[in-house]
Every structure is written in structure tokens, then in C-alpha cells.
């Protein structure tokens, strides 16, 4: 190989890399060449303990660092800056809903369901700053979240109609090639998407896609549809990282205890006069 060929190869590789980097909203797309290891029944193996490493739980959109809502917590309570996970950047709220989101944000110290240790809903459970574990069986897939013992059972056959709206919705899964696709519906209207007041109604419909990207990363995509709140469907995406520690496991985060003062404090017995 002559020096000239080497140089041309380098130029070609560099151009290729620039071209790849310039593809719109593809930064989260899995490299097509990656073939995930299989489980014994032939599906991509998603088993493991995973976590998002981002600030989406504070705000799923671009945001600068800011002071927190509890002044006494100082720097420890401040909002970390972050680039958003919403593809295209904007959430297509209907005008009244955008106003409502701003109102939620103003009242977030009392109105965010996370404050009360309520179940986080989907997709928020995925990017809470806590790990979650996928336990993949042949007939169903369980996702257990460390936060608040939230859990989803995702059957891979049709479980029929949801009997009632639920905080974590009603999940049904299927495989599309290397991607686990989960259709989630039958939500109540109690959960938020983040601490910034982003919200939905009981018409929320989420389609999640979990795609292996490398041995220790997955790409998570969630398409959000809610005609009562948004003008069109929109999408968020982010990588999920595997906890590779040998002793990694979910621990108990039973946050009810930490929320009782907030919820019931006003109903305590007053010290007798």
C-alpha cells in the first residue's frame, strides 16, 4: 500500500465519519452492524441492570443549570444542566396544554407526583435516576425498577383488554428483529414526564423500542401520542447503560416513608398545649 493510498483511505474514513455524524437525529440509532447476543430461545438478550445517564428526569428538553426549589439544599438541590432527549427539541403541546405545563412547573414542589413517591409511569420510569432490571422470559418480560418498587409485566402474547387505567399503563410486547417493541396504553392522568411539569392525559399511548447497540448499551426510544394534549405524536430517545459491576443488583427504595410528612404531615396530632 503506497502512502497515497493510505492518505486516501484516511480521507475516506474521515469523510465517512463526518457524514455519519451529520445524519439528523441518528446519534442514538444503533449501528446496523451490531448483532446482539441471543437468549436460548433465539431473541436478543436484553437481560441486565440498566440505567439512563442523563438529566431527563429534571427536564426532557434542553435546560441550563438552575437553582433548585428547596433553597436550604444549596448546590446539592440544584438542577443539573442537560441536553434534551426529545427528538427535534420541541414538545408539540396544544396552546392550553403548554400553559398548563408552565403552571405545573411553577407548582412542581407540591404537584410533581415524584415528590409523593407515586408510581412514575412510562416512559419516566426509564430515566429516573435509578437502575432497573430486565428479566426476559420466553413468554413475558418483566421490568422491575428500583424507584418505588415500580414494575411492569410485559406479556409477549395478547393479554386482552386492560381492566382499568393504571399508573404504569398496560404493556404488550413483541419482537421486531433485534428490537423489543412495547405498546403501552390504559394510563391514568396522574403521572408526569419529568420534574419540569411535562404531562399527559389518560389518552396517552406510548410505543417503546429497546434495541441493543453494543454489549453494554441499548437504545431506548419512546413515541408519545396523546391527542388531548399534543398536536401530533412526538418521540424521545436515549442510550441506556448496563451496570457492569459484578455485584450489581437493585436495592430497596421504598420511598413512601420519605413522603409521609409531605402527604400526611398536616394530619399529625399537634403537641398538646
Amino acid at each position: 500500500m503506497s502512502w497515497r493510498t493510505v492518505l486516501l483511505t484516511i480521507v475516506a474514513i474521515t469523510l465517512g465519519a463526518i457524514a455519519a455524524g451529520a445524519q439528523p437525529s441518528s446519534y442514538n440509532a444503533p449501528p446496523t452492524a451490531y448483532k446482539a447476543p441471543r437468549t436460548a430461545d433465539g431473541h436478543p438478550d436484553l437481560n441486565g441492570i440498566w440505567q439512563a445517564v442523563n438529566t431527563a428526569n429534571w427536564d426532557i428538553q434542553d435546560h441550563s443549570a438552575a437553582a433548585g426549589t428547596v433553597v436550604s439544599l444549596g448546590a446539592a438541590g440544584a438542577i443539573p444542566p442537560g441536553q434534551g432527549v426529545v427528538e427535534g427539541g420541541e414538545i408539540p403541546y396544544q396552546p392550553w396544554a403548554l400553559a398548563k405545563k408552565k403552571e405545573n412547573f411553577a407548582k412542581r414542589l407540591t404537584a410533581d407526583p415524584e415528590i409523593k413517591c407515586y408510581l412514575p409511569g412510562v416512559p419516566r420510569a426509564t430515566y429516573m435516576p435509578f437502575p432497573f432490571q430486565i428479566i426476559q422470559g420466553a413468554k413475558s418480560i418483566m421490568i422491575a425498577y428500583e424507584y418505588a418498587d415500580a414494575v411492569r409485566n410485559i406479556p409477549l402474547n395478547n393479554p386482552g383488554e386492560s381492566p382499568a387505567p393504571a399508573w404504569m399503563g398496560w404493556s404488550v410486547g413483541h419482537w421486531e428483529g433485534d428490537t423489543l417493541v412495547v405498546d403501552v396504553s390504559s394510563f391514568n392522568e396522574e403521572t408526569w414526564f419529568d420534574r419540569a411539569g411535562d404531562f399527559h392525559s389518560d389518552a396517552l399511548h406510548v410505543v417503546e423500542r429497546y434495541t441493543p447497540r453494543s454489549p453494554d448499551t441499548l437504545i431506548y426510544e419512546a413515541t408519545i401520542e396523546d391527542p388531548k394534549i399534543f398536536t401530533r405524536p412526538w418521540k424521545m430517545s436515549m442510550p441506556l447503560y448496563r451496570h457492569v459491576e459484578k455485584n450489581a443488583q437493585l436495592l430497596e427504595f421504598k420511598c413512601v416513608e420519605y413522603a409521609e410528612e409531605v402527604i400526611y404531615g398536616h394530619l399529625r396530632k399537634k403537641p398538646s398545649k
Partner: protein, 333 residues
């Protein structure tokens, strides 16, 4: 098998015992009946997957009047079944305005095929079917706990109420897992290297690694403890330690050590055995067993804390009563 169907479990239970004996004799994986053979998950674990209920009318401890009697006769069981059906509705209890029908699914303790069985206690060892006496240390602990409870009134604040009422954890989740008053539904899910047990109430998932790793360090304490499992032949053996001192399992402290054994004995049945030890609580270890029956499922979301009106109502009523008492006092003056 219809979960609503009530059936006499005695014969079935006898066959469970027979099958269990077969297990002890036969080499692992070689048990076979005409209608059922042990299945395995794709990664080769004996298949425990599905939805289960451990509801039963059998009490943990043998009642005093049945001393020396390990099993009911068929006639006695029939009488027991009748007794379990009374009252039919909460409305039959004087002064009750609730609409509970005790025959509805979830409230009926005889609802699964193993709900009724001939055992007079779940405890099989000691042979008297009783929890061994508390040690001196455990009695002291119980007295201290009682003192602690006296410091606050029963409705002073959320901490005055039990862990279940606070929606933190239900006593039946254990481990060991014991039948609750209602909603004994659980799901077992298996994935490579793990078994997970999800209790519908209160959506707690106990994830049990099977890779032989050591327990958590002693400074991490949990309501459900820390579970490690392995397969001994076709039996899943789960060892749990690292409890906190709040679960208080029949007087236990944080040294509680539970070993559970799950054996699939037929299409509809897991034989669940457990042994409990805590030298700081009981003079000797003790053991119990109960069958878990397959149910249709699925498990639904039991959002206990999110809908905890009970706590709000109880505390509100207590404050109202205090206010009324204060008013009455003022008026007397």
C-alpha cells in the same frame, strides 16, 4: 383449572406428598406422570413461571384444641370448609355496613384447589406445629418494642400505623411468604441467571440471583432482605438475610435467616417449604410448608400508596375526635 372453582384438595394434597416422595427417590428430572412432566425454561431452569396463589385455610400454628393431630380427617375438613364459608357476607356481622362478599375471588380462602388441605398447621417442625418459644433476648426486644409503641398514640401520625396500612410492605410478602387475609396472588418470572417473585400486593419484586454471589454487606438492610438462590436438582433453594429490624416476623430481629425451597410437583402446584432461624429470637429453627396453586393471572397493578385514603381518613377522624373532645371540655367549664 378455573380459579373460581372450589374443589376438595385433600386427595390432591396426598398426591402432592406422594410426588414429593418420588422426588426424593428419583434422580432429578426423571419424575414423570401420565399427564404432566417437568418443563424447563429456555435457559434450562425447571419451570416455575406463571401466576400462583398460596391462599389456604390452614393456620401457621396448630390450634391448641388440635394438639397432637397433624392432619384432619375428611369429615373434619368438610366441617372446616363449612366454617370457612361463614359468614357469607360482611353484612351478616352485626354493625357492619361493608359489602364484602366473602365468596368473591380474593376473599375466599378455599378458592384454589389447595386452599383446603388436611394439614392442621403450616408448621411441620417442631412436630407440635408451634413456633418455638422466644429466647430471653427476644422477650426483652418485644418489651422494648412495646415501650416504643406506647410513646405515640395509635393515630398520632402515619408512623403510628402498621407497615401494611402505610403501603410500605405487606407482612405476607415475607420472606417467608405466607398466605394473607386476601389477595394471595403472585407471579414468578425466570430469566437467565435469575428468578423474580412479584407480589401483586404491593408490587414488590424480589429478584433472586442464581450465580452464587455473596450476600450484601451487613450495613445494607431491607424489608424483604437480600435473597440468593441456587437449584438443588429440581428444587429452587433461596437463602435470605440482611433484613431490617422493622419487619418483625413473629418477634424476629434483623438476624432473621430464611431458607425457602420451591419444587414444582405438578402442572398446578409448587410445594413451598421454608425454614426460619434466628438464634437471638428462637431457641431452635422451625419449618413450615404449604402448596401454591396455579391461577390464571395476570397480576394487576396494586397502587396501594397512591390510593391510600385509609390513612387520610384514619388520621382525619382522629383529629376530628380530638377537636370534638376539646370542644366538649370547653363547654363543661
Amino acid at each position: 383449572m378455573d380459579i373460581f372453582e372450589k374443589s376438595r384438595a385433600s386427595e390432591l394434597f396426598t398426591s402432592v406428598i406422594a410426588l414429593t416422595l418420588l422426588y426424593a427417590i428419583a434422580a432429578p428430572g426423571q419424575v414423570a406422570t401420565k399427564t404432566w412432566s417437568l418443563q424447563h425454561t429456555p435457559d434450562g431452569q425447571p419451570d416455575l413461571e406463571g401466576y400462583w396463589s398460596n391462599v389456604t385455610i390452614t393456620p401457621l400454628e396448630r390450634p391448641a384444641e388440635l394438639a397432637g393431630k397433624e392432619f384432619y380427617t375428611e369429615q373434619e375438613l368438610a366441617a372446616k370448609e363449612k366454617q370457612a364459608e361463614q359468614p357469607r357476607s360482611a353484612e351478616e356481622i352485626a354493625g357492619t355496613i361493608a359489602h364484602y362478599d366473602f365468596h368473591q375471588y380474593g376473599l375466599d380462602r378455599t378458592q384454589t384447589k389447595h386452599g383446603l388441605n388436611l394439614r392442621t398447621s403450616l408448621i411441620v417442625d417442631p412436630p407440635d406445629g408451634k413456633i418455638p418459644p422466644l429466647t430471653a433476648e427476644a422477650k426483652k426486644r418485644a418489651a422494648e418494642r412495646a415501650e416504643e409503641r406506647k410513646k405515640i398514640g395509635p393515630y398520632d401520625g402515619p408512623e403510628s400505623r402498621g407497615l401494611g396500612e402505610r403501603c410500605i410492605v405487606m407482612a405476607h410478602e415475607g420472606p417467608p411468604m405466607l398466605p394473607p387475609a386476601y389477595n394471595a396472588n403472585l407471579q414468578i418470572q425466570q430469566g437467565p441467571g435469575y428468578v423474580a417473585i412479584l407480589h401483586e400486593e404491593i408490587h414488590d419484586t424480589r429478584i433472586i440471583p442464581l450465580d452464587g454471589r455473596p450476600h450484601l454487606g451487613p450495613n445494607i438492610r431491607q424489608y424483604l432482605g437480600d435473597s440468593r438462590g441456587h437449584w438443588a436438582g429440581n428444587t429452587l433453594v433461596v437463602d435470605t438475610t440482611n433484613f431490617n429490624d422493622k419487619t418483625n416476623f413473629h418477634g424476629s430481629g434483623e438476624n432473621l435467616h430464611v431458607v425457602e425451597r420451591f419444587t414444582r410437583v405438578d402442572a398446578d402446584t409448587i410445594l413451598y417449604e421454608f425454614s426460619v432461624e434466628d438464634p437471638t429470637t428462637w431457641a431452635r429453627p422451625w419449618k413450615a410448608e404449604l402448596p401454591m396453586t396455579k391461577i390464571k393471572g395476570p397480576i394487576y397493578e396494586f397502587a396501594c400508596h397512591e390510593g391510600n385514603f385509609d390513612m387520610v381518613n384514619n388520621l382525619t377522624q382522629a383529629r376530628e375526635q380530638e377537636k370534638a373532645a376539646e370542644e366538649a371540655k370547653k363547654n363543661q367549664k
